[in-house]
Symmetry: D2
Subunit: 347 residues, 4 copies
C-alpha cells in the first residue's frame, strides 16, 4: 500500500529523531520552560526578523487555532472564515466549543477576500448579533491554494479597517513558502497578520507547531490559555528540540527542503494526471492534488493506494485528495500514474 | 410616531394585565412551582391533545432556543438552521455560547427543506466534524413565511431518518396558526416535532413563552437546565397567570384572536403596498411585511413611523420590516399607506 | 397557609402594578432602549451620586451575577466567594457554566474577609492554576448578615491590592440599607465596589434588578453580553417602569419603606423566637431569620406555615429559614409565635 | 544540578525511543487508527482482563481528565474531588472551562472518602444546585498516598449508591501499583471504577496516557469528544508505539520496573530524611516525598538540586516536593542526603 493519504502518515525526518534521541536523557524544566524551547523560539524570531513577539510550542494545529481564537476574543465576538477552512471543516466544532461563532463564507478556491469579509459584516447589526473580530485563513488553504502577497496585504488592511485580528493557520506553511507560485515571504507574512503558526506535524516533525503571536493583546497570559485548553505538554521541550532540528540552517534548513520536495512530488503527480486528461477540484499550488475521478476508477486505485475521498459523489465522479510529503518517493508517483493509466485504458 | 417596529412595542393585552393585578397579592411557591403554571400547562396539554409532555414557562424566546438546544445536544453535536433563522441571525451567538455550532443553510423564503438538511450532512465526515443532531426552524419563519403541513411533515420525516430532533421556534406561532394560508393545526404541529414553544411576548403577553417538550430525552432534568442557563424566574407564576389569561377559551381565546387581528392588519398593509406598486422581499404570510423602498422614501416615512431597516441597501433600495400586532389599529395602516402614496407621488 | 418561604411569594407592590397598568399601552422601543429605562437609570445615578456608570435593567439576580462575571473575566480567571454565597450555593453552577471557577472559602457568618481572599490566593501558583480576579459578595449575605462600612472598605482595598474586581450581589440590598445595624450607605457602597445591583424581585417588584457597573472595563459592550447570555428582555421597559415606581422619592421611596418594614417584621419574629428560648444559625441582621428547631416541632409548624428547611438535620434539629417581605403582616408573626409556643409547651 | 523536580524532567526510557525510531518510517493512518494503537489497546485489555472496554491513546493527563469529565456529564452535573486533587489544583480551571463545577472537599492525606462524598451531597438541594455525578480521585493521590483495596471498594460502592461515576486519574498509577504498601491490583482497580488511565508521561514515555473507559455510556462517541477538546494527535500511533514498548511483558514490563525503581529511590530518600530528623507533609507511599524544611536550608539545597516548593511558608518552614523517576540514580539520593546533613549540622 502506497500512502497519499496525508503528510503525517510517517514519523519524523531522521534528523529530528536524532535530535530527540540525543537530548533524551537531559533533565530540564517542564511545560516548555527549557533551553530548547527558548532556543527554538529565538531561531524563529531571527527567521522572521521580529524580536518582540510570543512564540509558543504547541502540540498540534487544532490546539493552535482554538487556543489562539479563545484568547483573542471576548465572549460575544466571532470569527470570519472560509467554509472550507480547517477550523470550520475539520475540527469538530472545537472553536464553537469555546463559545464563539465562525461566520462562514463560500470562498472561491478556498480563499477569503476583503469583499467576503465585508459581506460577513452584513450579518452584523448591533447587540443582537455577534461582533466579527478575527479573520481566520490558512496559508496554504485547506484545498492547497495560496494567498499572494497582494491578497494577504489586502486582507490585512481590511482586517485593520474593521478592527479585526488576522490569524494565519500555517499547518502547511512550508509548502506555501516553497511553492513555485509563491511571492509572499515568511518575513512579509509575519508583518501581515496578528498571529500565525509554523506547522511541524505536516512537515517532518513527530508533532508540534510553533505559534507566533505578534499582537501583544492576544499574547497576554497566553500560557494560562494553553493550560486551560489542555494544551500544555509536560515534556514541552520535545517540541523545542524538534524545531531546533527542523529549522537548523534557517531558510536552507530541512524544514524548507522537505516542503520543496513535497511540492515537487505533487507537481509531478499533477502534471501526470493532467496528461492523462484528469480534471481537478480547485487549483492547488502546494502539496495536495485534488483530481476528480469516476467511482470505479477510484475503487481500483484503492487496492494499491491509500487516499481520502473529498466530498460527496456527484454524477458518478468523486474528488479525491492526494497528498505528498517529505518522505514521498518519485517511484511512488510513477506507480500511481502507471496504474491509473492502465485503469483508464481498460475502461 | 406610529409603531410598526415590532409586535412587542406595547405592554400586554388588558385581560392579561387584569389577571396579573387580580392575582398579585396571592402567595405561591416560586420558580414556576405554583398552581397557575400548572394550570396553564394543563390548558396547553388540552389544546394540543397530548397529556404526556413537559411544559415549561420561560421568560423569552432566546432562553427557549438556547436552553432547549443545550439540553438536547451532547458537546460534539450541532444544529442545522436557515441562515436567516432567529437563533442564528439575532441571538448574538448565544447558541454557540453553549458550545454548539449552527450549520447554516441558505434557505429560499426562510424555509429549511429536507434537501437542505441533506446538504448540511454533506459537511459531516466522522469524528473530525460535528454531528448534526437538531433541526431548528421557526413557524412562521424569521421573514414571515409559514411551513405547510406537507412541508413540516417532510422535515419531521427527514429529521427522524437522520436521527435528529426537530425543534420549532414558535415566537409568532399564533400568527402562523391564524394565517389564511395555514393548513397546519397546533395539534398536528405538536405531533410533527420534538419540541416547540407558544410565544407570548410577541402576541399580547408582557413577556413569557410556553415551551412544550414532547421528547422525554430532552425533557430530562430540564428545570436544572433552565436554572443553569439563568432562565428560572423567581416569581415564575407571572408567566403561568399570563398564559391562563391568553389561552382562556382555547382556540377561541384572545391569543388566537389577537394573532388573527394582527394578520388582518398586515394583509391590509400588504395589499395597500402592492396597490401602490411596491415590491416585497420574500412572501410573508403572517404579521410581518417586507416592502422594498427607495432610500429617500424611507427617510420621509421615518418622520412619522417607526420600523426597522432589514439588511443593507442595494442599488438605492432597502428592505424595511413592518410588523403589526394585537394593538395595531386600522387607521394606523391607512395613515401609513396615505403617507406613502403622497411621498411616491411627489417623487 | 402563611408564607415565610421567601420574599418573592407575592406579586408586586400595588404602586408598581399601577405604573405597569398606566404605561401598558405606550409604544416604545424594545430591549431596554426606552425612556422608562433611561429615566430609571438616571434616578439610580442620582441616588448613588455617580453620573458616569452603566445601569442595566436585568430580569433576575442570577442573570446579573453570571453576566457580570462572564463580562469581567478572561477564560482563565476565577471568582473568590464564600461557599455559602448565592452564586455558588443556589445557581446550579451557572457561573461555572460560563467557564469560570468559583474558589470557595468557608466564611464565618457568610462574610468574606481580606484574610480569606489572601487564603484563596494560596491556591494560586502560575499558569497551572486559575488567576483569582473577582471577589463576589452579597449585601446582605445569603444568611442575612451585613458588611459594615469598615469591612467593605477593607475588602475593596484588598481587592484593589490583588488587582481584583469587587462585585456586590444586591438581591436584598434594600434590606441591608435599612437594617438598624447598617452603617454603610448606598452612596458609600457604590464607591467601594466595581459593580453591584439593586434587587427588585425580592423587594416589591414583579421581577427585575438594576445592575450598576462602575468600572468601565467591565461595562464595555455589556449589552452584547446580556443578549449572548439570553438576558435581554424584549419589553425591557417593564423593568424601567418598575424601578421608576420603586425609587420614586429616592431614599423616601417605597423601595426603602418596604425593606424597612420587612426588617421590622423579621426583628419581631426573631425577638419572639429568642423569648421562647430558640437558638439561631448565624446572626441575621436583615429580613431572614434562621431558628434551629426540633424535627417534630417543624413538622407541626409546616401544617400552617410555609418555609424552607436550611441544610441537613443534625442531632434531631434542623435550621429553618423564615423570610419576611413587604407584604408580611404583624398578625402573621404573632400567629407563628403563638403556634410555636403551644407546640413547645406540648412537648 | 540534580533534578528531583518531577518525574518528567527527562525524555523516555531508551526502549521507548528505540521503538519510535524503529517504526519511524512506517506509513499508517492517523489519529490513533493504526495497528500500534490497536495492539497497545489489546495489550491493556489483556492486562486488566477486560475485553469489552474503550482504550484511547491520549496526549496528556489534563486532556484525559477534562475530556472524560466533559463526556460523562450533562451541563448541570458536577464533579466531587479532593481540593488537593490535580484536576482542581493544577489544571487552570480546565474542567470548569467545559462548564462543570468541581465540588471540593478538604481531604485527609489527599484521599476522598465515602463520608466526604456524602458531605458533598449536603450542598445538593434540587434544580437550584448542580447535581453531583462524578467522583474524581487519583491513584496515587496528588500527595503520594494510595487508596487501599478496601478504601477504593468503599468509594466505588458509595458512587454506585449515589448514581455517580467513579473516575481514577492514573498519572502515576505505576507508582501506586508497585508501592510496597499497595494491596489493590490493576485488575481489581479496573473493576472498581468507570474509567481510569495508565499514565505514560510520568513513567518513562515521551508523552501519552492510555485512557480506559469501562462504562459504555461514557465511551459513546468518545473520539468526537477528544477531537472537540483538541486532543486528537495526528500521528496518534506515537502513543500506541510507546505503550507497546512500555507494556511489553505485562506485569514484568519496563513500565512496572521503572515505577518500582522510582519507589525504591523515594523510599531511600524518605528514610534518609527521617534519619536526619526531618518531618513530612502527608504520608507519601509512592515516588514523591514531601519533607518540611526551614527556609534557609531550602535556599542552600536549591544551589545543587532542583525541586518545587509546595505551598506557602508557615512559621519559617516550607514543604518541598522531591520526586524520583525511572532515571533517578542512587548516588543522586546520597548526594542530596549528604548535602542536607552538612547544612543541618552547620545551622
Amino acid at each position: 500500500m502506497i500512502f497519499f493519504r496525508s503528510d503525517y502518515s510517517q514519523g519524523a525526518h531522521p534528523k529530528v529523531m536524532e535530535a530527540l534521541v540525543k537530548t533524551n536523557l537531559e533533565h530540564t524544566d517542564g511545560y516548555g520552560m527549557d533551553p530548547h524551547c527558548e532556543n527554538a523560539a529565538q531561531m524563529i524570531r531571527s527567521l522572521i526578523g521580529i524580536r518582540d513577539c510570543g512564540v509558543h510550542m504547541m502540540v498540534g494545529g487544532t490546539p493552535c487555532n482554538v487556543t489562539l481564537i479563545a484568547a483573542a476574543l471576548r465572549p460575544y465576538e466571532s470569527v470570519v472564515a472560509a467554509r472550507s477552512g480547517h477550523a470550520y471543516s475539520h475540527e469538530t466544532g472545537a472553536v464553537e466549543g469555546t463559545g464563539h461563532r465562525i461566520i462562514t463564507m463560500e470562498a472561491m478556491n478556498g480563499k477569503l477576500t476583503p469583499d467576503l469579509v465585508d459581506r460577513a459584516w452584513e450579518e452584523y447589526e448591533d447587540e443582537h448579533t455577534p461582533l466579527p473580530r478575527l479573520v481566520y485563513v490558512s496559508q496554504p488553504t485547506e484545498i492547497g491554494s495560496i494567498y499572494s502577497k497582494e491578497e494577504m496585504t489586502a486582507l490585512y488592511e481590511k482586517s485593520a479597517e474593521r478592527n479585526m485580528f488576522l490569524y494565519v493557520d500555517g499547518a502547511r506553511i512550508g509548502s506555501a513558502l516553497t511553492s513555485e507560485e509563491n511571492d509572499l515571504s515568511l518575513q512579509e507574512l509575519a508583518r501581515l497578520c496578528d498571529a500565525f503558526y509554523i506547522g511541524g506535524t505536516k512537515n517532518g516533525a513527530l508533532f508540534g507547531e510553533a505559534l507566533v503571536i505578534l499582537n501583544k493583546a492576544i499574547d497576554d497570559h497566553f500560557r494560562f490559555m494553553i493550560k486551560r485548553q489542555c494544551g500544555l505538554l509536560a515534556k514541552g521541550r520535545l517540541i523545542g528540540v524538534q524545531f531546533e532540528a527542523l529549522l537548523d540552517g534557517g531558510m536552507d534548513s530541512i524544514y524548507f527542503k522537505m516542503a520543496a520536495h513535497a511540492n515537487r512530488m505533487a507537481k509531478k503527480l499533477k502534471d501526470g494526471l493532467a496528461a492523462l486528461g484528469v480534471g481537478f477540484f480547485g487549483t492547488s499550488q502546494t502539496n495536495q492534488v485534488f483530481p476528480i475521478l469516476p467511482r470505479d476508477v477510484i475503487k481500483e486505485l484503492e487496492k494499491d493506494f491509500s487516499f481520502y475521498e473529498w466530498g460527496a459523489e456527484k454524477e458518478g465522479k468523486t474528488v479525491i485528495r492526494l497528498v505528498t510529503g517529505w518522505g514521498t518517493k518519485e517511484p511512488e508517483i510513477t506507480a500511481f500514474l502507471d496504474k491509473l493509466k492502465i485503469i483508464l485504458q481498460g475502461t
